[in-house]
Structure formats: C-alpha cells, structure tokens
C-alpha cells in the first residue's frame, strides 16, 4: 500500500513538473504545426504574406519590356501570359525566402555586400555588417539582381524535390517518351557505298565509263578492284553510313536522289555528279527508321528527367497558387 502511494506521488510529481509541462506544450505545438493550423500559424508569422496584387502599372511595365524585347506589342494571350509570369515569379521569390535560400547563396551574399558597401562607412570593411545593413533596409527583398537569383534557385529546388507518390524514372517512362516524340529520334536513310569515278562530263568520259562498266561485268570484278580502274576522287572512294547531306556535300545536289533507291550488291548505271560520271555500288542500305531506345537511351533519359523537373515545378506552383490570394487590377489586360 505504501509502495502504491509512493508510486502515485512520483507520478503526480512527474506530471506536475514544469519540465514535463514544457515538453508536452512543445510537443503539442510541434504537432499542430504539421497540420492546417500549423500552416496558418506559419503564414501569419513569416512576414511575407500570402496576398499578391498585380497593379495595372506593373502590367504596363511588363508590356513595355515585351515591346523592347520583341519589337512589337503583345497580343491579349501574351499579356495574360506575362501577368501570369509576374505572379509566379513573386510566388517563387517568397517561397525562396521561406526556404531561406538566400542565406548561403554566394551570389546573393556578394550582392548584399556590394549593396551594403554603398550604405555607409561605419561598417568599415566588415562583410557581415554590410549584409546586415542591406537586409535592414530591405534590399534583400527589393534588389532585382537578388530577386532574379532567388527565383532561379527556387525553380531549381522545386524541380529537384520529388512529388508525393512519384516513382523513379523507369523503362516504361522512356518508352512512353519515345513513342510520343518519334520525330525527335529518327534517322534518315544512310548508305555504305563504293563508287568508280571518271572525271569530266563530256561524252568521252561517259564513253570511258561505259567501257569500264562492261569490263566489270565481263570479268566479275569485286567492287574494290573495279574502282581502281577509275580516276581518283578527292573526296574518297568509299563511304560508310553517309546520309543525304553528306552525299550532297561530296557529290553535289541531286546525287543522293539518284543513289538512294539503288539495290544493294549491284552496280548502278552511270550517274552524273558535279565532277564527272560515277558507277555506284551500294554495299548496304540503312533505311530511314526510328531510333531504338537502346540507341538513344541517354538522350531520352535526360529529356524525361527535364520534363519531370518541369512537372514538379508546375505541380508545386499550382499548390502554392492555391495558398495565395491573387488579384489583378483591371482583369490583367
């Protein structure tokens, strides 16, 4: 009995101890901050606010920037887009402040030091004081260079933070991307061919080529042996995986159109180029084809990763916009 009474006393003392009260109170606050009330508490306390008002003056300013950049007035759709960009940049800036991205950013630090240097001599070469002075005057919020760096940093961070339920990029993602972008991963026809060249475009040259063609057929010469009978061609006598642009470069316009349809393993009829006459022996044809995934794996992986970063940013922006009260003077036109 006495032991039970002693234990109850201990429990009562524990429960009434200030330390425990502090612990419980702190735990309660911590738990509240994780929920909606916490968000409300956080918003109220960070000083950045959740109201954004886009004035007509600001919209007109953005329209002037567009005019300067593109040499014409933006149309109504572009004005809407401009207004949206201004709002999103403000959101990104405030979110960057909330994530304290300006605290250790070297570029922002340098900029604050520079701004602080202009403010007075009292700081006397102390970078820390320069920064403090600049912050005191709110230059970390208003300086356009700092704002730009903050917006960029927040975009990068948002692009790197996986969304809830997001799975790592897998093969299925890559296949889907490839199927949706066939034109981006597509290879034109290529040829392996060897050619016999006779310089000159006059009839004598053509006659000489005709004679050689007959000899090749009569003697069943291999392509490599056959080309030795012709004239040397400065651009080379054998080409591997050459496409239409390469053929145009070395033979002139119109040549590729004459060889692309040639069958493999047979000599062509005489074909004229800018330089003379040719017999072409196509060794292998690589038809126009979509590139297989293994071939462009890395390119597609990077493309999917970039898309995913963009999706993350867009999703986060949508969520953040939901937390803000946004008003546009005059409807944004």
């Amino acid at each position: 009995m006495f032991q039970r009474m002693a234990e109850k006393s201990k429990i009562k003392a524990f429960l009434t101890s200030p330390l425990v009260h502090f612990f419980l109170l702190g735990s309660l606050i911590f738990l509240l901050q994780q929920g909606p009330l916490g968000a409300w508490l956080g918003r109220k306390s960070d000083g950045l606010g959740y109201e954004i008002h886009l004035s007509q003056a600001r919209i007109n300013e953005a329209k002037r920037e567009f005019l300067n950049q593109w040499g014409r007035q933006p149309d109504s759709g572009e004005v809407q887009e401009i207004a949206n960009q201004v709002v999103e940049e403000e959101i990104l800036f405030r979110q960057a402040k909330r994530y304290r991205l300006d605290q250790n950013h070297p570029g922002i630090r340098r900029r604050l030091i520079q701004l602080g240097e202009y403010l007075g001599e009292a700081s006397q070469g102390d970078p820390g004081k320069y920064i403090q002075n600049a912050r005191t005057l709110g230059l970390d919020q208003s300086d356009p260079v700092i704002r730009r760096q903050m917006v960029t940093a927040m975009k990068e961070l948002a692009g790197q933070m996986p969304l809830q339920g997001e799975k790592p990029i897998g093969e299925a993602d890559l296949k889907k991307y490839l199927s949706e972008h066939p034109d981006h991963f597509h290879q034109g026809m290529r040829l392996d061919f060897i050619h016999l060249f006779i310089r000159g475009k006059e009839s004598a040259a053509r006659g000489r080529l005709d004679l050689l063609a007959k000899k090749i057929s009569r003697d069943s010469l291999s392509p490599e042996a056959a080309v030795q009978m012709g004239d040397p061609f400065l651009n080379g006598r054998e080409f591997s995986q050459i496409d239409s642009m390469g053929v145009q470069k070395f033979f002139g316009s119109g040549f590729f159109e004459q060889v692309e349809g040639l069958p493999e393993g047979r000599w062509s009829l005489p074909i004229a180029s800018s330089y003379g006459w040719h017999l072409v022996y196509v060794k292998k044809r690589y038809p126009e084809r979509p590139l297989e995934l293994a071939r462009v794996w890395n390119q597609i992986f990077l493309a999917v990763a970039r898309d995913r970063q963009q999706q993350r940013l867009q999703s986060r922006m949508a969520l953040w916009k939901g937390e803000y009260s946004i008003s546009v003077e005059g409807g944004g036109g």
Partner: protein, 688 residues
C-alpha cells in the same frame, strides 16, 4: 530500380563516359577532353568540315543597335539551315523585320563570338526587366529604341570599352550605385554557353559541332586588334577576358589571363585566339609596319603568340588580308601580285570615315603574307621562334546572326538595317559576304576540329566551298600524271610528307621539296551551281641570304589567264564548259636553297563570277557591265528612287558605286574570282 534497368543505365553511361564505341581498343590521334559518343563517320585520312568562327548576334552591342534581334540560339539554327528574319532598311529599335535570310547548305561547325566588352551592359539594357539597376540609363534607352541612330549609339557604347588607347572601362552607368555590370555579364556568358551546348550534337551522328567563344574587341583609335577567342570544350573561363579586363589594348595580357584562367586552371580548359582584319589594324610609331603583328618584346612573347595563335582569319566581310595591290597605281604593298587587288578596303583602320591610304604608304605587315615573311626573318632574334607562323581560315563576321551566309548571289548584307537592300547595301560597296573556315579533321567533334585548328590543317575560302588538299615532302613522284591518278594519292600525301599547316620533314639530301596539291570545284547547289576552277598557284615566301624577304607566285596547274567567256554578263550565269572541275599537280621547287627559311601555300582560283554588288545593282536596274556613262545614267535613276522612298538621304548616290570597274577603282569590279588559301607549309633550316 530493377536490376536489368540499372544495368542498362550503367552500360549506356559507360559507353558515353569511356567514349570508346564498338571497338574498345581504338584510340583516335587527338586528345579526348569531353564526354560524348564517338562519331560513326570517322575517316583517318580526314574530311573537310566547313564552318564559321566569327559570328555576332543580338548579344553584340553593334548588331543590336542595327536592329538585329537574332540571338545565339537562333544563329545556331540558321547554321543548320533554318531561316531567320532581318531588319528592313529603315528599321529602328528592332522594327520592322522585313526580310528573311537562309543558307542553301548547312555548316558543319560554328562558334558564336559576340563582343565581350559589353556583355554586362547588354544584359542590363536588353535582356533584364525594367527596374534592374541601370535599365533606365540613357544609353540603355538609346540601345533599345535605336535613337538617335545606330552609328551614334555604337560610337557612344564603343568608346570607353573598345576605342581608347590608354585603357578601357565600362559604360558610365555601370559605376552608378547599385549597378553591377560584371555580375550581369555572367548571365549573358552563361546563355552563350547554353546555346552552344543545346546545339552541339554529342551523339554518334556528329551532324553539327559548336564552340563556345567570344570576341576580344580591342580597337584603339580605330586600329583593329580584334581576336576571336575559341574554347575547345565546355570548360571555359568563368567570365570573358575582354579589352576591359586587359585595361585596353594589351594582347600579351589577354594571353596571360587566358593562361591563368583557362590553360592552367586545372579544369580541362583549352583555348586559342584568332586575329582578324589585320588589313584594318593601322600602324603606330612603335609598330610602323602594322599594328596587328608587331615585333614581339622578347622570346617569351613570341612563343606566347605562336602558342595562342595558330591561325589567322585572313578573309572576311571587311576584306582580304592576304596581300594588297592597287591596280590603278600598278603597285602593291611589298608585292607585284595583281591578284591581290581582291576585296580591299580603301583605308587601313576600322573606321568607315577613315582616310584613303595610298598604296605606297600602306603598312606592309598589315598584310598576312608579309607578316609570314617577316616572321621567318625575325625568328633568329627569338631563339628560332617564328612569331608569325599562321595557318589560314576565313569567316564571315556577320552581325546579322547569319553564319555562313557567304553566297554572292543573294547576299543580304551583314549589318542589319545599315545594309538592307539595295541602296544601303551598295553604299558599302567595299564590303563582302565574307568567307568560310575549312578544317581537315577525322570526325565532326570538338576535339577533332579543335586539334586540327591547333595543327593548322585548315584552309580559308572567300565564301565558296572548293575542296583543297596540300601536302609537302621530298619523295613525291614528280610525274603529276602518275601521282594525281593514283587512287591512294591522299594516303601517299600523308605517308611521304606532311599536310598543310606543318613543317616540312627533315631534309633529304639532294632533293628539293615537292608539293602535291589537288582541288575539286565547289559542287554548289541546284539553285546556285558551283563555278569551275581556273588554276592553282603556289605562293612561296623566303628570306634570302641578305636577310631580305622575298616572294614568288607561280601558276602550277590550270589556266593562268582569264579566258573571257567564263560568265554571261547578261544574267551572271557561269559557263560550265570553261575551266576545270578538278585540278591536281605535283610541283617541285627547283630554286630551293636549304640554307634559307621558306613557306609555301596554295591559292586555288575559281573562274570569274559575278560579285554580290553586281547582283544587287542589277536587281536595282543598274547594270555594272555597261559603259561608265550608261551605268551612271541608270544609277542616277536608282539613286533618286531610293531618296524618294526615304531609304537614303537626299543628295546621296550609293548606286554610283555600281559603276566601279578595273579602269576607275583600285580593287572593285563587277566580277570577282573566288578563291581558297591553304595553310602554309614551312621549311625551317634548323629542322635539318
């Protein structure tokens, strides 16, 4: 992640990171300094790649002031064949864009080289939002609006950073409170790098190569000392080293800072600088022969120049710097080569209002051929280091963001609104479409092309695309009919000698150097067929026993005279039956003296064809082929029309320029002969 998936990722990355492709034992002859797939189209005997290493976009202050709005991203797209807009003749502040430009054949490689001195100012004034410190400065407003006029803006902007003799600094608004031009410059520099990366084909297709670059724009008192700074790969300097960073014209300091911030930075950075427009570099009391190629202060500087500058841009939109001849005076700048009356500007400085310089007063070393000769003569003073041992390239120097746009037939100009057709275009009659850089490399990748530039296996053209090979050695079969008809002549060229850009191999006792040269005419396009070749010449320069420089120009194959029927002057159609599709020969220097240093380079001449101005003049109904009187009558009508349309001011007569010819102008004619120049091959007696 599933194991099979992970294995695929690892395999793909290892292929890329190791860069070994199918044959894991294959090692190319050039250093690999970047991660990319090996090219499927690889040729150990090398292939010709056509490019442009001098291009300005809207990121350059002067281009922007001329209402050009094509940025580096768009410039790369143009090089691949996409059309771009250009400003109209009365455009101001970027409006209106009334023309479209497009090249008929894409380039293989490109470096965008905007003026680095004003990156920060351009970023603030043209690419930053209102409210950015400096944005409202008067100079910024002028740049954006184009008011009062492009020339005044360019001069205002260019004076402090570029034109001073005694230093260089930013624009005045950069020192205002809160304005940070150096920080903003980094943004533009990053954009330039991003554009190069976005357009560089790192796949095994190797369809297009980009180089990160910028222009170092030193122009004291309008003396042109510009260089294009070209980086080998994506490891570049943190911020461009411009004329401002070197505090004015100080090329050795440029090299020193590039060495510290690139070559010795431990980042894998590599860089070279390509000077251009020595024809406009003027002279000073300290450098009376020419300011682009002054005598080095010491051997160290000579070595630094030789290291950083393997190439010179010998031809571009502001004329040829090979050599100079005045056909009216009947004399040249240390030459009697009449073919040097080719695309020459009247003045010797980069100032449209610069004085006309008579040929007898022209700084001789402003011409590259003379600099090459002088370099050999100077070498003994620098422990054998030849400070002027340059290989050749051409480029355009377009300020339209339109690289490689060098065809005469439809040239829209290179400087935005200031030369929009036709009146303003022909007003700049001495300018031209510019040239191209051609590189012999194993594949179309940064490492391969940059390595080729370093070893000078390059040639320049005046805008067309002939294919040219040039080899030197002692063992070539002098019977040209034999060697030129050998299927393996290129292999023989490499096996028994050296290619263009090299030093001859060690002397073979009792033998003279022999040179194998072969060229194919430009195949052209369906719309603009190529022009047949006329001849190949070999230019020899040497230092004689008395220490005097000498030169000789020899026609080694083809027709050494114009036939007269190469062009139909009624419609500028080229006669395909005159001239040669191909030329090839082996030439031996029978006057060779093994005691005397020498260089040899090949100049490939096309048949005459219509100059760009002839096409422009005919389009404006002024025929340059008429007699001078008849031509001027037509010009008067065209001038009045241009005045009435408000394109040119009253009292100006740009179309009178259409009537220039051999009898009344030192170098401009209705016809020109396009040409290519191979990098030289040097004979160095000390090499044995």
């Amino acid at each position: 992640m599933k194991p099979a998936f992970a294995i695929r990722i690892a395999a793909a990355l290892s292929v890329i990171f190791l860069g070994l492709g199918c044959n894991s034992s294959f090692i190319p002859p050039f250093a690999i300094t970047e991660i990319r797939e090996p090219c499927s189209n690889y040729d150990p005997l090398k292939q010709p790649f056509f490019g442009d290493t001098h291009v300005h976009t809207s990121y350059s202050f002067d281009a922007y002031s001329l209402s050009v709005r094509n940025d580096p991203f768009q410039a790369y797209e143009f090089a691949k064949g996409m059309p771009l807009p250009l400003p109209g003749p009365t455009a101001q502040g970027g409006m209106p864009q009334t023309r479209i430009a497009q090249i008929g054949r894409p380039l293989d490689f490109l470096a965008v080289t905007d003026h680095s001195e004003l990156f920060g100012e351009m970023q603030i004034c043209t690419l930053s939002p209102e409210g950015t410190p400096g944005y409202d400065a008067l100079l910024c407003q002028q740049m954006r609006t184009g008011l009062p006029n492009a020339g005044a803006i360019a001069l205002e902007w260019g004076f402090n950073p570029i034109l001073r003799e005694d230093g260089a600094g930013p624009l005045p608004f950069c020192i205002k409170e809160g304005v940070d031009c150096p920080a903003m410059a980094i943004g533009m520099w990053l954009d330039i790098q991003a554009a190069a990366e976005a357009h560089y084909d790192r796949s095994s297709n190797c369809t297009f190569t980009t180089f990160v670059g910028y222009e170092y724009t030193s122009q004291p008192s309008f003396n042109n000392l510009h260089r294009n700074v070209i980086f080998r790969n994506a490891n570049v300097v943190p911020t461009p080293i411009s004329n401002v960073e070197t505090n004015g014209p100080n090329i050795p300091v440029l090299w020193q800072l590039l060495r510290e911030n690139c070559l010795e930075a431990g980042t894998g950075c590599d860089v070279l600088t390509i000077p251009h427009n020595s024809n406009l570099s003027g002279s000073t009391a300290e450098a009376p022969l020419g300011r682009m190629f002054p005598d080095p202060q010491n051997a160290a500087e000579a070595e630094e120049r030789a290291s950083f500058e393997p190439l010179v841009e010998m031809y571009q939109h502001k004329g040829s710097s090979e050599c100079r001849y005045d056909r009216l005076a009947g004399m040249g700048a240390q030459t009697v080569d009449e073919l040097c009356a080719f695309e020459q500007l009247p003045t010797d400085v980069l100032n449209p209002l610069g004085p006309v310089i008579p040929i007898e007063s022209f700084p001789t070393r402003d011409m590259v051929r003379n600099a090459l000769k002088d370099g050999m003569a100077l070498a003994p003073q620098y422990g054998g280091i030849n400070p002027f041992k340059y290989g050749f390239v051409g480029s355009t120097d377009t300020h339209n963001g339109t690289p490689g746009n060098s065809a005469e037939q439809n040239w829209p100009g290179h400087a935005g609104s200031t030369d929009a057709p036709y009146a303003k275009l022909v007003d700049g009659i001495y300018l031209s479409p510019g040239g191209l850089a051609v590189v012999w490399a194993e594949e179309n990748s940064r490492d391969a092309i940059f390595s080729a530039m370093r070893r000078k296996e390059t040639y320049g053209t005046s805008g067309t695309r002939p294919i040219v090979r040039f080899f030197g050695g002692y063992e070539y079969n002098t019977q040209a009919a034999v060697l030129c008809n050998q299927q393996d002549r290129v292999q023989v060229g490499y096996d028994l000698g050296v290619p263009m850009g090299s030093d001859l191999p060690p002397l073979v006792a009792g033998k003279n150097p022999r040179f194998l040269v072969a060229a194919l005419m430009d195949a052209g396009t369906e719309e603009f067929p190529g022009t047949p070749l006329q001849q190949i010449q070999i230019i020899k320069g040497w230092v004689d026993a008395e220490g005097q420089t000498q030169e000789k120009v020899l026609s080694v194959v083809g027709n050494d005279n114009v036939q007269g029927n190469e062009v139909d002057t009624a419609n500028c159609a080229v006669n395909p039956n005159v001239g040669f599709e191909e030329l090839c020969t082996v030439w031996e220097d029978s006057e060779f003296d093994p005691q005397l240093p020498a260089f040899y380079y090949a100049r490939v001449m096309e048949n005459p064809s219509c100059r760009w101005s002839t096409f422009a003049c005919k389009a404006a109904e002024v025929d340059p082929f008429l007699s001078e009187t008849e031509c001027l009558n037509q010009a008067a009508v065209a001038n009045q029309k241009a005045v009435d349309e408000g394109i040119v001011a009253a009292g100006t007569d740009p179309f009178n320029n259409c009537c220039f010819n051999e009898s009344n102008n030192a170098s401009v004619s209705p016809l020109i002969q396009e040409r290519a120049w191979t990098s030289p091959i040097w004979y160095v007696p000390e090499n044995g």
